[in-house]
Amino acid sequence: MLLIPCPYCGPRPELEFAYGGEGGIARPADPAALDDDAWGAFLYHRSNPRGMHVERWRHVHGCGRFFNARRDTVTDLFACSWKVGEAAP
């Protein structure tokens, strides 16, 4: 079970969290302005890296808030986490 650093509550066990997919993918401000390929990339293309991965988590059984985190997909260790709207450290 991973130990996940909630930026609001501190480190908590994984079972308090829900995974929210890759982070840093903002919904386009004006989706209608995108062509099909660009919209399709927003919907479906994800980086799936071996190594550091920016991802979203929600402390669903805690403070309820979404936040961002950087996790190494090889070691499963979290490097850092930050609140929505903050710059990535």
Partner: protein, 984 residues
Amino acid sequence: MSVAFRVAEGGRVDRARPVRFSFDGRAYTGLAGDTLASALIANGVHLVGRSFKYHRPRGFVAAGSEEPNALVRVGAGTARATPNLRATQVEVYEGLVAESQNRSPSLAFDLGAINDLAAPFLSAGFYYKTFMWPAWGWKRIYEPLIRRAAGLGRAPEAPDPDCYAQRYVHCDVLVVGAGPAGLSAALAAAEAGARVIVCDEQAELGGTLLDETPGSAHAAWLARTLVALAQAGVRMLPRTTAFGMFAQNFVALAERVTDHLAAPDPALPRERLWQVRARQVVLAAGAIERPLIFPGNDRPGVMLAGSARTYLRRYGVRPGARALVVTSSDEGYRSAIDLAQGGVDVTAIADLRAQPAAALADAARAAGLTVLPGCEIEGTSGRLRVRGARVRRATGDSAEIACDLVLMAGGRTPSVHLFSQNAGKLSFDEATGAFVPDDAGGAIHPAGACRGVMEIDAVLRDGAEAGALAAERAHLPTKAEVLRTVVATMEAEAVPARKPHARGRAFVDFQNDVTTKDIALAVREGFVSVEHVKRYTTVGMATDQGKTSNINALGLMAEARHAAIPQVGHTTFRMPYTPVSFGTLAGAARGNLFDPVRQTPIHAWAESQGAVFEDVSLWKRARYFPEGAETMHQAVARECLGVRAGVGVFDASTLGKIEVVGPDAAVFLERMYVNPFRKLGVGRTRYGVLLREDGFILDDGVIGRIAADRFHVTTTTGGAPRVLAMMEDYLQTEFSDLRVWLTSTTEEWAVIAVQGPRAREVIAPLVEGIDVSPAAFPHMSVREGRICGVKGRLFRVSFTGELGFELNVPADDAQMVWDAVWARGRDAGMVAYGTETMHVLRAEKGFIIVGQETDGTVTPDDVGLGWAVGAAKPDFVGKRSLARAAMKDPARKQLVGLLTQAPATVLEEGAQIVADASAGRRSLGHVTSAYFSACLGHSVALAMLSGGRARMGESLLVPMPGGDVTVRVVAPVFYDPAGERVNG
């Protein structure tokens, strides 16, 4: 009672407390402190099992959890008898009942031994090559045969009557293994002030120190250390196996709490799962002695030398009268000398190496032992017990040496399982001839034998250093204790010699009956990867996970490939280290506690009316209310007719409800749902459709505007959590500019649906402050007011097509309101109806159910809800996706109705739809809902049909088990197509 092989004194058993037990129906006596294995050996019993594949007679190989052969079923009865326990770990208690496995009718005479004669045909992978013809043979002959032969032991038949506990715990330093390394690590860490947990799979803490003679320096150190640890508040967990190691030092321990007790306190759990989050972990798992590979190395009486020493020193039993020690390591000498001193007649030490260390050979000779260097073991004799071994000496001459014990000392393999489970890297260590952990450098500290440090003083020092370092890394001040020095001798190890050219079968994996020939065959047939060889030969795949066989198998593979072991690599270590019971993993989560059960406030009433319930997500919902001996179909027909002709009442409390509040609530809902909401008047409701960003329907429900800044949103029963989660996601991350707050109100409001032409007359007298007349309270409206005197929200909505109301009242008052509705309704002939009738009534009207008509690939237009989409809105979740070309393809599946040619035929939900009876026909769509409509007198079905709206009137086929059913495509509204009945 005299027990033949018990020595007069010594060992940690309690000679004052004899214990009676039975094995295969025979009564035996052991001593408190014995394992089943040591007690049987004390009684001269070595034949304890039959091998998996060849049914060869097998005896004890080891004294600990690595035992591959002595698997037994322990306990009586159908519920508590546990199969596949290692007799070497089972502690004897008064009345223990054990029996052997994999034999019929008895251990001494086993019919399955015919396989041994057929061994030439049962080589590695024989099952891939043998069971090919004839084609029908698989189902009728091979599969039943293989199923009977496969698997070890018999699982208990009855439900498990015991309870199992689970605990979460944190500590600074977790020490796995309480041998010399683990105990000195625990001591060092505890003295530095760390919170320490130390666990060990054995009944007593001490590991190999338990094999030391009483009064020796090491034994004294053990006694002192255990006292010191207890005084330091260290949590000590014997009988506790660390079986899994996960990321960030999360370690799973299984504690056997009561299995060793004759009459356990019923309040105690049988086993306890500890889930430990440790800042630092010291792995002191020790090492496992390797068998040697020679023909006939699997006969009862052939065992590991170190284990024989353990039986003698710890349990005070002699594993045999006359022993031959076969060694390829210096350690074999120490075992031989100790056994000789303990009264075992050691006939010779046969060293497979040409040049044993001179000092050792001298020591052995000084103890009166014969040393034979440069030997080869050509085979063993004996049927149910070894009688002798044929030894070829360096001079070339062979001699049969009579013995009832052949002891193997092939060097020790560090137990790196947990380290490797956690993705720790291993490297090959020439000194031990095995893999050892690479320097971790982090929060995991291998110490002692599990990282290749074998000499006991070095092990003690290594453990202390690891413990001190762990405490330091846990941010505690270090006060590394003075390292203790004790006298002991244990020389360095050597790589075990292998003689693969010898004739006869030499076993590598005892439990899965894998021989040297199997591995050679696999390599010859082209298997190169160590993982492939493992699966093809099944080496290391038995319940012991290859504890005694893996390194030997790697050595053989390396030889066959003319490569070095590091180039061959090693297989992946996976949890559990030793088998863990399902009960331990499940804990309390079984039966009624497996999943939460959600009941509505009306549940007890429905029960009292004889309702039949169904599970809808976690909810129990009343499905129908049979009267007398009614079948479901009869009850549903009566309920449907009752609603359409008069009035019915339905418990809709499970509907998800979300209160959406804030100055931007309307804007938020506009962005989330396909529908426009800004212009929705206060007191009005709208049927909302929610898409995912990919344009497919996620949920639907009626949304009422309670105030300018307050909406009452309803969702499907099963969709409530995901809708709330999705709304939260957008609100927190994408639309964080909006001032909106979300609250789940699903359980706050009970919902009583009153539906049917006489609904108004039933509810009108019960509401205060709401004018329910058609003009003042039209269809799709909502009002706040008092219902039966309590504050509530009254919706005028219909999921039946009839005049309908939904009374939202506080859950605590729901039964009172329901009673009032029921009392008044009975005068109007009211029926209570359940979910089945609800489904039929809505299907007659062509109303979709999300998850039944939709499957995650359906757009609003596909199900005829294009009218709901606010096309003029600049954006909403999923809007851009609806503009993609594929979403407008006229061949998309669309919602239609189907009428069967024979009115009584009800289609099967999920059945496919085809155009004709030709052989190559393709599916045009599928049936999503199908019921018999009592109101219409014929069956109705909804379906998703390719280009369906352009196929009205077409005749198609639906293949069903009884043959093709002819159907006609019609509009999906069967009842009251004009929609006039909602007006009452």
